[in-house]
Amino acid sequence: MLRQNWWKGLCIVLLTSTVITGLLIPVPARPNLNESIRNYFFHPPLWIVMMVQFTVSVVYSIKYLRSSSLRHDLVAREFAITGLFFGLLGICTGMFWANFTWGAFWTGDPKLTGTAIGLLIYSAYLVLRGSLTDIDKRARMAAVYNIFAYAMLFPTIFIIPRMVESLHPGGTGNPVISPKDVDPRMFLIFWTLAAPGWILLGLWITSLRIRIAKIYLNDIQ
């Protein structure tokens, strides 16, 4: 299925319509945010993509522990790398947005601290992989570490930031998931166009990386 083209076409259609509608639809007038509220279609989806990628990654890590097949380890690694990349993109775009709404690139907002910790934990996953030379040992340790890293995501980006005051909208809830915190039309576009489009783009990139990595693996074995 991954080699088929229809879902890549769907990805392009969804993303193109996201950009066009995201820039053109009338948005509710909110103080301070003003027109920059349109970033809702471009910044939050990056975090959704990151979560999807990390979730698939941990599933393949568990699969590796059950099967000891290096192919599962490779898939887990590539999903973690792409997830980390989208997380970094989320941080960069978020910092840029914050500078013009909150007045600084980096604030002590608990969500920022939490995601920074989460991304550092996943960077350590790659550092751990790079520090081991034995292929099987590396795969096994990385798989175990990946499970812990994934478990740590929940307190750092879901639980702790919601227990304290945040500059992010939605307060203790989540404006992305809860429809009552956001304009219904924007909410609809977010979940029908933006989120699926960006998720498919992430899958597309990762599937290419996996195909390349598999050729490498075949060369080594």
Partner: protein
Amino acid sequence: MTYSSLSKYVLFFLTAFLFCISLYSQPLPSSAKRTSDFFHSNGKFFVVVGVLSILFLGIYIFLFSINRWVLKLEKGKLGR
């Protein structure tokens, strides 16, 4: 078109783009607006433009790194 000539084109456009930046660094007449004023103008609409630029620039860089990986593979180098 080979990949190396493609990257030459990209380098050319990036350099051309960098030269364009010098146009913006010229002092503006009268009102002497700062960059932040530009982003605050038009209901902060240009913040969205900035975010989209960062996003797509990042994606292009990531795609080029994958592209380089394929190139290495085509040349038959092993290992990472």
